[in-house]
Symmetry: C2
Subunit: 252 residues, 2 copies
């Protein structure tokens, strides 16, 4: 079941973009990657065995456009590429924060495109969609939402439908709190390692496992910091964390 | 190279005890496990293909005794089994905190046994010694220390020699801080999951990886709490962590 045929991925040479290019082309979609850096798109496209092109021509020829760019650029890029898209084609943005992006796009995008806001709850290092969680934001185009959901579920992903606010509240825990706890730990650990370099020979296996989590966060630091800044419940999540552990300190 | 022949593991039916029973018997040592619970020793011994016995008779027949019991019991068990041990035989304790244990044992144990304090920096779920870090505390019996170190290094482990104080300072970071950060995060996450059970469907892959680290800590909670209580630098490590993240909160 292929709900779309011609897919353009804006930012398709980025890490998440490459993930979708791989998965979708393996699945029989014709994928074109594009973005501001044509030479980079060319190199990545050759490696992945997909097409590449200028942004405008790529999205003009597509019935599905995936916008996979930094959170801060998502609104503007969507507004700009939508103008070039054909009537009835679908645009999907996948930013990790939805307030100020999905809600504004829903009202601001031209009516000739079908808009869906989604958030894949995994990074680009996973192999495929099986067993992965994906959020689709309620209130997007009904037909495009139905198709996207069926496609994802047919690949074994688990789809949750949430409002913009429900999404950002949930991600304040799942992403903001999680990243903040790991980064805080990493910060104190790195300070200790600088003061006492011998510590590096004294890592437990359990700490090595946690450092793999820390590395994932650091590998993705730009996005992590954008989430910390833009999720409207981020400050609250960080404060709750500090309060909880400061409280435990007083008791113990 | 087998530096000892007859090994008795006190607490050998516990998780770390079973790890050493497996590794050492696979390596050609004759292993006897013992402890206060004879029936449990019998069952575990049968499963592992090793011997079992009463504590006193087992340690009497051994040229190496490994004491693998909870931190709080380590000093007393060592003192009590040493009395039964043969002249020139070796006793090794593996507690995760050394202040108040290794230092006291070094002065209090009868002179007819050779004492070594070690700390394997891994849990019982690892497969073998290759690539693992082990601390040996300075100031133990020289000959037994040399033998233990050679044996561990011949198995591919990496051995660090530290004083009691160096060990506990290092473990305040590697264990206390690490466990405290994970438990604090887990505490706030579990609260959120109780308030909003839907969150369980919204875990990212990166959070799932971190939850594996959390699970390791929770699987080993008794030992983790003993370390939090008994490591003399634990309070300082927890305070540094809270201060660091509370500071970052004010700035951000």
């Amino acid at each position: 079941m292929i709900p779309w045929k011609e897919v353009a991925i804006v930012g398709g040479y980025g890490r998440m973009g490459r993930f979708f290019a791989r998965v979708l082309s393996r699945d029989g979609f014709h994928v074109t990657i594009c973005g501001r850096r044509l030479e980079r798109a060319r190199r990545v496209a050759r490696r992945l065995g997909v097409s590449y092109g200028e942004v405008d021509s790529s999205v003009r020829g597509a019935d599905l456009v995936i916008v996979s760019v930094p959170i801060d650029a998502t609104y503007d890029v969507c507004m700009s590429v939508a103008k070039e898209m054909e009537r009835g084609s679908t645009i999907v943005e996948i930013a990790s924060v939805k307030t100020g992006i999905a809600d504004r796009l829903r009202s601001d995008l031209p009516r000739h495109v079908r808009f869906v806001s989604a958030h894949p709850l995994f990074g680009p290092t996973v192999r495929g969609l099986r067993g992965r969680n994906v959020v689709i934001i309620k209130g997007g185009d009904e037909e495009a939402t139905r198709r996207l959901r069926l496609y994802l579920e047919s690949k074994g992903a688990s789809v949750s439908l949430l409002t913009v606010d429900e999404h950002d509240r949930a991600m304040a825990t799942v992403q903001v709190l999680h990243h903040y706890a790991l980064l805080s730990f990493s910060y104190v650990l790195q300070n200790e390692l600088r003061r006492r370099p011998k510590l590096a020979d004294l890592l437990t296996e359990s700490l090595r496992l946690t450092l793999r989590s820390v590395k994932r966060v650091l590998d993705n630091l730009d996005a992590v910091l954008e989430i910390q800044e833009r999720n409207p419940y981020a400050g609250e999540a960080r404060r709750e964390f500090v309060k909880a552990i400061a409280g435990s300190l007083e008791q113990g």
